[in-house]
Amino acid sequence: MMRLMNILMLSCRKATELMEKRLHTRLRSIEKFQLFMHSQMCDACRSYEKQNHFMDDMLRNQSKTSYQPKSSLKKLPDEVKSKIIKELNSSKIN
């Protein structure tokens, strides 16, 4: 019985680690079950999971090439643009 309990009972650290793993790959059946059991009983880990999902969404979204950063309106300095144009025109790449 103790052995069974040990298998079923995850620590919070292990549970949150499996939550991370689940974001990136499939969990094994036993891991899914362990995580389910733990989450049923642990408010803190449930909060963590929600917040972890949110961070995952944010990071995923801002890593898309279509993402437009909102916090900066910086432009590429003109001299860098001219330099690129000049270099491309003078290079014998074709």
Partner: protein
């Protein structure tokens, strides 16, 4: 649109640089922080684009194509960065004084996650939150934030990332897990429960 053997090549180059470089630059700065590095990456992106102009068949827009080249340049940037860390350094994910978990691996009382009072909707479009998230990412140890960037920019290739970092897949989760714990805490202190 063919950039090679195009008599209007100088115009085309100037046109693409003027049309797309600011947007490319903004994303590059956001992803790598350092403006000088971002400028180099933009330069490399255009150079690479015109070197491989034959591969651009007009099947995507020039903008999409340039962004995909830039993305690969940014991934290379982080690869190099991460390679400069010894694998032992990266794998060091279990600090002696764990700030989050006690010796039984349960949450310490002070770090128990509680629900955030502030909603998380629409934060992706919020410039202040974006800046906060950026700052929190920068506060992470460089090896960890580089792992995060590589993982999210290069989603499909966890195994490849692990090979390059000379770590196992399970170790990558542990690194990401540690990094997220810190990131969560930083967001909480600076945004959700200031």
């Amino acid at each position: 649109m063919q950039a090679t053997d195009n008599p209007d090549k100088p115009q085309l180059i100037a046109q693409w640089v003027n049309l797309y470089s600011d947007e490319l630059y903004r994303w590059a700065i956001y992803k790598v922080t350092d403006e000088a590095v971002a400028q180099d990456l933009i330069q490399e992106t255009f150079l690479s684009a015109f070197q491989h102009a034959d591969k651009f068949q007009g099947s995507s827009s020039p903008k999409t194509w340039l962004f995909s080249i830039l993305k690969n340049k940014i991934i290379d940037h982080y690869r190099q960065k991460v390679r400069s860390f010894a694998s032992t350094n990266l794998a060091h994910t279990e600090p002696e004084n764990d700030p989050w978990f006690d010796s039984d691996h349960r949450w310490k009382d002070a770090s128990k996650p509680e629900p955030w009072d502030v909603g998380t909707e629409n934060l992706l479009d919020n410039p202040e939150f974006e800046a906060t998230l950026g700052n929190c990412l920068r506060k992470l140890p460089v090896a960890w934030s580089s792992c995060i960037q590589l993982k999210y920019l290069n989603e499909k290739d966890s195994d490849e990332i692990c090979q390059e970092l000379n770590i196992t897949t399970s170790n990558l989760w542990q690194i990401l897990h540690r990094a997220k714990l810190h990131l969560r805490n930083c967001l909480e202190l600076n945004w959700f429960k200031p």
